[in-house]
Symmetry: none
Subunit: 229 residues, 2 copies
């Protein structure tokens, strides 16, 4: 299962629980965000637009049930997965939880392993749609380059590149570590017939280095450039 990029928001007022769950979900490959009360949960949900929200019920400043109700009225969160994680294990609370629109209701205390099983089961059921397979997404270290969406991400921060910059970066990153001669770069990015000045490539390389904020492009003097971390 591909858990990459799946975002999970956890809301609980007990820091210990937050930490334990966060650790285990991250270990599985999920990206985890946290909130310590109801209002913060709502706010962060709008910020990060998570794929799954795990809600404690008894929280300060809006209960989990209230948060769930509010989210479900908004189109943006109509389909977001929601799990209640709570010590309230009486029947009526559970039924109310599901009535509010939750996808699962888990009683505390619960082992991280078991929670993971349930989270994975939910994603397994829902997540059949995306990931068309061999799209041209390049992932090198903490750098993700998606030619379909035309975005570059460094440490989950989106970086905006111009067309030529993007094409140049994509070429270099398509074979990490391999050195591309200046002529190769010219042919691939600019085309065989186009003639540009000597400094043109350098300027683009500089802009990429600057925008990415990383030293991921190495100069091989007298030869060319290579993408490497």
């Amino acid at each position: 299962m591909d858990t990459k990029g799946k975002k999970i928001l956890i809301a609980d007022d007990e820091p210990d629980i937050l930490e334990i769950i966060q650790y285990n979900l991250q270990a599985e490959g999920y990206t985890v965000y946290t909130a310590k009360d109801g209002d913060e949960a709502l706010q962060r949900a709008k910020q990060v637009n998570p794929d799954l929200i795990i809600l404690d019920i008894m929280m300060p400043r809006k209960t989990g049930t209230e948060v769930c109700s509010i989210l479900r009225t908004q189109p943006a969160f109509k389909d977001t997965l929601i799990i209640f994680l709570t010590a309230l294990n009486d029947e009526s609370s559970q039924v109310r939880g599901f009535d509010t629109g939750a996808d699962d209701y888990v009683n505390k205390p619960i082992s991280p392993k078991l929670l993971l099983s349930r989270v994975n089961a939910l994603f397994r059921r829902v997540g059949k749609k995306e990931e068309g397979g061999s799209n041209g997404i390049l992932t090198v270290g903490n750098v993700v380059i998606d030619p379909v969406k035309f975005i570059v991400e460094v440490d989950d921060n989106e970086v905006s590149l111009a067309k030529k910059e993007f094409e140049l970066l994509y070429l270099l990153a398509s074979r990490p570590g391999r050195v591309f001669l200046r002529n190769e770069i010219l042919n691939q990015v600019w085309g065989n017939d186009v003639i540009v000045g000597d400094r043109t490539i350098d300027v683009h390389i500089r802009k990429i280095r600057q925008k990415l904020g990383l030293d991921c492009i190495t100069t091989v003097k007298g030869v060319g450039y290579k993408f490497d971390l």
Copy 2:
């Protein structure tokens, strides 16, 4: 919620439990089939092709876990909902249940009401998925696009778009984040043979942006446009 026509198969070796669950599910509008051991469960599953199977684990002539494993290997039952309903409430059994491909794991004893909540929650989740695939309603963030009703909603406010505007928006929103080249847009919305001026697309994009009152369409200079929040 539309429960009509949804078929549920229950497998348990205790007649009392079968009867109670059957009664409650039928009262909710589901069509219920029963089996009293593992082999019969497999046989009836192939007969009626249920939407959901509720499996006891400790049954004669194949355990629920075995039944689930066997079903999951068959393409016809790859996406069938499966709930384990069992007295085995230790952690490893639950994890094993989910690993086998179950969608939920419920401990006995359970109130019929609560089981109903879980069953409904599962159908609610899956039903949306099919809805999204079949009748073409797109939901991206707080934007809902219904090509049947020809309606676009932003934050529950209805927005009226013209035909070309709607087609253009629908195309972009059908793959959120993906960049559509100007040529792709022309081919998809206007047709391969139609020739229109350079500024035509821009004008329509502008109108959409204006009417939606959102910056949901991003320009990628030299490449195209993408729908993104």
